[in-house]
Symmetry: C2
Subunit: 439 residues, 2 copies
Amino acid sequence: MDLASLPGFRDFFPEEAARREYIFRKWRETAERYGFVVYDGPPLETTDLYRRKSGEELQEQLYSFTDKGERDITLRPEMTPSLARMVASRGNSLPKPIKWFSIPQLFRYERQQRGRLREHFQFNCDIVGEASVAADAELVALLVDALRSFGLSEKDFWVRVSDRPLLAALLEALGISGPELQKVVFQAVDKLTREPAEKTRAKMVEGGLSAEQAGRVLALFEGKKLTDIAAEFDASSAVCERVMALQRFFGILDAMGLGAFVEFDLRIVRGLAYYTGIVFEAFDRKGEFRAICGGGRYDNLLKTIGGVDMPALGFGMGDVVLGELLTERKLWPEKLMKGVDVFLVIVEEKLRPQMLSLAHQLRSAGLSVDYGFTEANVGKQFKAATTRDARFAVVMGPDEWKRGAVKLKNLTSREEVEVGVDAIVARLREKPSLQAANV
Amino acid sequence: MDLASLPGFRDFFPEEAARREYIFRKWRETAERYGFVVYDGPPLETTDLYRRKSGEELQEQLYSFTDKGERDITLRPEMTPSLARMVASRGNSLPKPIKWFSIPQLFRYERQQRGRLREHFQFNCDIVGEASVAADAELVALLVDALRSFGLSEKDFWVRVSDRPLLAALLEALGISGPELQKVVFQAVDKLTREPAEKTRAKMVEGGLSAEQAGRVLALFEGKKLTDIAAEFDASSAVCERVMALQRFFGILDAMGLGAFVEFDLRIVRGLAYYTGIVFEAFDRKGEFRAICGGGRYDNLLKTIGGVDMPALGFGMGDVVLGELLTERKLWPEKLMKGVDVFLVIVEEKLRPQMLSLAHQLRSAGLSVDYGFTEANVGKQFKAATTRDARFAVVMGPDEWKRGAVKLKNLTSREEVEVGVDAIVARLREKPSLQAANV
């Protein structure tokens, strides 16, 4: 019998589920610290929703099918179209700016490669209704702090930031006008980190640029600073305007104390055609992994998808690359699986009804409690307590019970005290954390 | 442009998402108090997995399709087959008993009716590897406490409990032998609460029972108590054995103090054919809603699906009926949407860098913080603070700032105090809860 999950799909056994929950919790906490509120859309949408975004040319990797009502539907490959649909459907009734986050599971029919999954969870944070770069900076700060919450520092990752309109203005200044020619450049430079510059140059010349233009374009991507660009292109007001916007953006992150995490890098173009402003990607510093996170401003998407004109920006951070990075950097907390607070041990089977009653009292008090389902000697019960990673054992013996007491044993320190049954909840609550604690 | 979600699929705007999170949180907390650990499976499985469970006769409502690799796959309509597959794949390496819970989203292509959804979330709790009725009682106790955690009491709901082998033994004692005849009875009595007894009787006679047998079967379902049954069928050792098991089961729930929530009711047969022991369903007392929850023991399923012989039992509780019940009983907490802890207000735009720095300090200290992205007068900023449901406003004015201080205003009590910037985190942390609190 085949007991495997579908290729590219993960089973989350308790250990993996605990890791997933840890990632989700950190994401959620960071989003909430930034005043973002949670939302969610359906995992199935009409295929048309994705067609509206990308034009007729749909992505190959869609999980699309026809349902029993003859609808052409798709398992969501990304969250932004659902977000755009939802926000547009409420139009102006939502107070702006909207700051929403979600942790959807997303699906892509990727060709099977080692480690390539067909599903992943993605932390999505979006701001809708705010045109100022202050929103772009807020979003990147959130992304930085989300990664920092896992113990990653500026030595581990950085966020490379570029700007679509700046790049367009620069090309314009170089005499490369019109969306077709610019698209040639965007597509060529998107591969700049993955192929030799000569190949990129050839592609651009093939696409219609002059050799001189291609050379100047390549020069743009040789790690120029914003100030260099401003000085070189000071005749272009469009360039100056975007340089100033970017300077404001970086200024905000500096004011927040996050300057060390972000860097201007014109090479970040992002594959998706719909970005209209600042774009960014987070990478590990060593360059060992794919992008940890990517996003940017997409001011036209709500209009395209929902007919409502609202500026918007967002990012998506997947759980897979992040998880690999945490593993490589040994940043997973030592103990993610929570053990139970208390394991109840009975010295005589006769005491079972009393044990069940106590179990329910302790659970009602908010403690996590376990016990053996069937008669077993004390040694076996203690073994079960260890298997369940219990912090405390409560040992119920006939003599103590007559005195209205039980033995409370700390399973880490092995200390043991006799406690009155009435006092036990208070005693255990003194240290309600799941960490080992002295009685 | 069509801005609706697919029929039967819900959008979770922040308000609905907050309700969903509330339900999930209560479910999770209760499961953890009972020592259950979280797991999850993939939302897509091979259709074969569901075929293995139900035999060739697959449910009509499956969301099945063929993927690009020509696989026949299905969006999970229930969780148990995935659980069985996962547990079987790890076989004996998992310590027993396994106590696992999950909150999957499930999919069924239901015919469209008012309020009938095609997706819902379901709290699934299962115990694997324990044959004793102690496990059945533990599971029902968990289900009761999960519902109680929402403020539902024994006046609001009850759990009706029956037993498949008891029913089989009773039919046997009435001379109704063999799976075919018994299946006729199971199917007939499953509808007993929804159709007149005469119709049920006719069906049974049609199915091959004698008129006398049909009459005695109907008499069984007239609210007989366990003790009545034991007395009436004391010649059948199979009946006596199951009566004793059920008495043990109810005894455990009594010992836990939950006796008032459970009741023996032979009419609970449960549609699914795979149950092998105690079965149960939770209903609202007024009988206004469909079943809130259902489950039971399915000792053969792991073998059928995964080739591993392990006793198992579980229940599923959906979010939809539960949500309707909470609405009807007015049991939703008044305030589910969390506002932010602090909204930062600047009296002069010049102070923006200082505000951004303070925002980041407060966020780093774990507080949720919001502020306006663009220049606005103080009145507008306070209005935004109210919109964001902030507990406190921190007002940064040039004079206070020179003194190293800010004004801290409690937006509920309207009290205002001046606080040193260094002390502000400590001051706000005194009452870190999201409830309104005095400064």
